[in-house]
């Protein structure tokens, strides 16, 4: 399993910006300025602003307001799993 660690020797908690590369690979485009609404507390945050926990198996992104889990990303040799049940929505601007 690959760990999309942003920095060596870094803090346990990073932010969504720090794993922008992994997010871009999973979703196919730059994601840091995409807003999401937390399904737990309703707070709208940019993905860059989520707390990123990268030392867990996979990557866990939590709401900066309530710390609820918004996104879980797990990569295996065969596939990438995205658990997004903690997001009420992601909002993609029409370009």
């Amino acid at each position: 399993m690959r760990v999309p660690a942003r920095f060596e020797g870094g803090d346990e908690v990073l932010d969504g910006n720090a794993i922008a590369g992994a997010l871009a690979v999973v979703f196919g485009s730059e994601m840091t300025e995409v807003p999401e609404r937390c399904a737990h507390c309703g707070t709208v945050s940019l993905l860059a602003e989520l707390r990123a926990y990268i030392r867990a198996p996979g990557t866990v992104l939590r709401c900066p307001a309530c710390n609820g889990v918004v996104l879980r990303i797990v990569e295996t040799d065969e596939a990438t799993y995205v658990d997004a049940r903690g997001a009420a929505y992601l909002r993609f601007e029409r370009r």
């Binding site: 660690a5 060596e8 870094g10 908690v13 860059a48």
Partner: protein, 247 residues
């Protein structure tokens, strides 16, 4: 044809130079580089002969106007897997896999305007340096200040270049704090970044400044919360967390 930012490609190490005893900059030539925005980073991948690979992200230190290569500034982390390799093994001419540029959130360009208030801890200064270098070339009408926390004088990354930027008389100020030791005659700050220091450093720019904070989580949280209390609009405060804890 410009390669996709999320495709891995080979860069060639063109130059290496020391910034401090533990921080080194690498100039990389990247074919078909699409250009970057100040504050963006690249992912870097090392792969061993047995297929084991490890990725790390490094902020781009160079300004977009520099043609033909990008510069990464890398702090050596003793128990790291990638930075000791970069510091000890890599020589000019070597090829390294990268993808990018990555990240649209922690970005400042001259067109965004200012004033520009930058807050850095240690190697958190790297993406902010790209902004200052970019500003010095195409954004001099924007007033800028950098508040920079380092542990020791010898650990101040880009010290001489920051001195030159600050003495250019074009509206850039650089404020240092040294949290562990100070040389004789030091007249800068001598403590961790706090609200009073932020208030004093921000004062010449005013509360409409765009703020970019990069460093260890504790520094980023302290600075971001203090700037909100000092009246900066939260949507003008951008943060990037990383780095060894403690300063």
């Amino acid at each position: 044809m410009v390669a996709s930012p999320i495709a891995w490609r080979l860069s060639t190490v063109a130059s290496i130079h020391d910034e401090t005893p533990t921080v080194r900059s690498f100039g990389l030539r990247v074919p078909d580089w699409a250009g970057h925005r100040p504050g963006q980073h690249v992912d870097l991948r090392l792969t061993a002969a047995d297929g084991y690979s490890v990725e790390r992200s490094y902020s781009i230190a160079s300004e977009p106007e520099r043609s033909g290569e990008i510069e990464l500034t890398v702090e050596r982390i003793e128990d790291g897997e990638v930075s000791p390799f970069l510091h000890e093994v890599v020589v000019p001419g070597d090829q390294i896999e990268i993808r990018g540029p990555i990240g649209g959130y922690f970005v400042w360009e001259a067109a965004l305007g200012g004033p520009l208030f930058l807050v850095a801890g240690g190697s958190g200064v790297v993406p902010l340096m790209a902004m200052l270098r970019h500003r010095a070339l195409v954004g001099r009408s924007t007033a800028a200040a950098l508040l920079f926390s380092s542990r020791h004088f010898e650990e101040i990354i880009y010290r001489e270049e920051l001195d030159r930027l600050a003495s250019a008389g074009d509206g850039t100020s650089v404020i240092h704090t040294l949290t562990r030791s100070q040389p004789a005659g030091w007249d800068g700050y001598t403590r961790r970044i706090d609200e009073r220091m932020l208030d004093e450093s921000l004062a010449p720019l005013g509360a409409s400044a765009r703020s970019y904070i990069c460093g260890p989580t504790a520094l980023v949280e302290t600075a971001a919360n203090a700037l909100v209390r000092l009246g900066l609009p939260p949507d003008r405060i951008r943060t990037e967390r990383f780095g060894p804890s403690g300063s």
